[in-house]
């Protein structure tokens, strides 16, 4: 259940990108307004709400519930995210969820010059007032994070993706993040992090690959899954237009193995790719396991008691 946190500089189009992204992904957008209007009233009276708007330090005061306002927001966010994905806009969410395996932490920035120009246009301010406005808002953002979480708001290590909107528009930025979020479902860092035995867990693209890996394991043969991609066709500008990643590599035998257990109409295409690979990378050992061979291999190991004669 991937979710996003978005931190932005004022004038970076971060708010607009977050709004459009929420629509594209059909996710709720949790903003400062949601917190102030819906979550803080649960524990803050009118005066406290006023003070919270004025001073970041007030978030560290104890509420009548016995916990700080900052902790209340943190608990509410964690509870919300545990039930459904969302886009969390600001609120120090990049720090609250810094270790969350399914969080995508985005920072949206722009150059001072571009931001100033946008503020001048949007708020109809002259240059000096626009610059002053940005200086104050940046300082407020920075102070909120440093006061409550003792972190530097601009620390790039807090973010997984940083978008510079000097060259990226609202639609483009939202589309980029939407694409990443959708694909993140299949390539999460959690899945790629080392397991307890120190090896990265493998995510096979097809069940037959997992079955074949089982056969190799049965014979105690070391293997690697898709360890290398061979470019096999380029356009006139030298861009790779076709590449081939064999399924398995057996280092001890310096052999790549490609399974073709899918629809047979793709087999001839794969054969051509393998031939091309052999021409371009002479000396590369690569063997194809065709559909029928693969199933007879499985059948052999499923029903045979003795391995001799056929192996």
């Amino acid at each position: 259940m991937v979710f996003l946190t978005i931190s932005r500089q004022t004038g970076s189009l971060g708010k607009e990108i977050a709004g459009l992204l929420a629509k594209k992904l059909d996710l709720p957008l949790i903003t400062h307004d949601v917190v102030v209007n819906q979550w803080l009233p649960e524990i803050a009276d009118k005066h406290e709400t006023h003070m919270l708007k004025e001073s970041p330090g007030f978030y560290l005061n104890l509420s009548s519930q016995g916990l700080t306002f900052a902790k209340h927001i943190e608990d509410k966010l964690k509870s919300y995210i545990s039930e459904q994905p969302a886009i969390v806009f600001g609120l120090g969410a990049q720090i609250i969820f810094s270790r969350h395996p399914e969080a995508i932490h985005v920072r949206i920035i722009a150059s001072d010059e571009v931001r100033t120009g946008r503020i001048m246009h949007d708020l109809r301010l002259d240059r000096s007032n626009a610059e002053r406005f940005l200086e104050l808002t940046d300082r407020k953002h920075k102070r909120y994070i440093s006061t409550i979480y003792h972190r530097d708001w601009s620390d790039p290590s807090l973010y997984g993706i940083t978008l510079n909107t000097d060259f990226i528009g609202i639609e483009e930025g939202a589309a980029l993040l939407a694409y990443y979020a959708r694909n993140k479902q299949f390539y999460s860092p959690a899945a790629e992090s080392p397991s307890q035995d120190g090896k990265k867990p493998i995510i096979f693209k097809h069940p037959s690959e997992e079955e074949f890996a089982g056969i190799l394991d049965m014979y105690h043969l070391d293997w690697e899954y898709e360890p290398r991609t061979f470019p096999i066709r380029w356009d006139e500008e030298g861009n790779v237009t076709m590449a081939f990643s064999p399924d398995f590599y057996l280092p001890r035998f310096n052999t790549f193995i490609e399974l073709t257990t899918m629809n047979q109409k793709y087999t001839s295409e794969k054969k051509k790719k393998v031939e091309l690979l052999k021409q371009l990378y002479p000396g590369t050992n690569i063997n194809i396991v065709f559909k029928n061979d693969f199933y007879s291999l499985l059948e052999r190991f499923g029903i045979r008691k003795d391995l001799r004669n056929e192996c």
Binding site: E211, Y219, L221, G302, K305, L307, R308, N309, C311
Partner: protein, 177 residues
């Protein structure tokens, strides 16, 4: 068991003996001045081993290996293990592994890994039948008598459900479905 399932003779006893003798003479020439440990993988290659080694004049020792696949509850494909390991030490010695059939090469790779771990001076492979079109791994077969026909065969050590090993020839066999 259906005796009528034994079909056409693919390699006659005479053809086998002639080819085995030729292969033996080549091996004998290659290993002149050296001592050899010949290892047979049970059970399919024991007739082949017996005939082949009788054409060798070099000093040699003979040993046997046997492997088997065991079902494993934690792994649906099971696990392959040696049920009989070598009695002789092969460290620093020239080794000739005698196989009945080499197909995918998976079994051979498993055995070669095991033998290489003992650090022999050299390791070569001799197979009665070779099926290179079925090969998955890049393994060089140093000596080969025949290419495997495109059908299931029995005889001269090769079995179907432990029968027909004692046939002096290699014949096609129609397996029961």
């Amino acid at each position: 068991m259906n005796a009528n399932a034994v079909g056409k003779i693919i390699f006659t006893a005479e053809e086998i003996q002639q080819k085995v003798a030729e292969t033996g003479q080549i091996i004998d020439a290659d290993y002149q001045g050296r001592e050899l440990v010949v290892i047979s993988v049970l059970k399919g290659s024991f007739y082949f081993l017996a005939d082949l080694t009788r054409h060798l004049t070099i000093p040699l020792s003979i040993d046997f290996l046997s492997i088997k696949a065991f079902p494993d509850e934690t792994n649906k494909t099971g696990v392959v293990k040696f049920v009989k390991d070598l009695d002789l030490s092969i460290t620093g010695k020239h080794v000739l592994l005698v196989e009945d059939v080499v197909g995918t090469g998976l079994t051979l790779a498993y055995i070669c890994q095991h033998l290489e771990a003992a650090k022999p001076a050299s390791l070569k492979i001799c197979s009665l039948l070779d099926n290179p079109s079925e090969r998955l791994l890049t393994i060089n077969i140093d000596y080969c008598c025949f290419l495997m026909p495109d059908q299931f065969v029995v005889g001269y050590g090769l079995d179907y459900q432990e029968k027909y090993r004692n046939l002096p020839y290699i014949a096609a066999y129609k397996r029961e479905k």
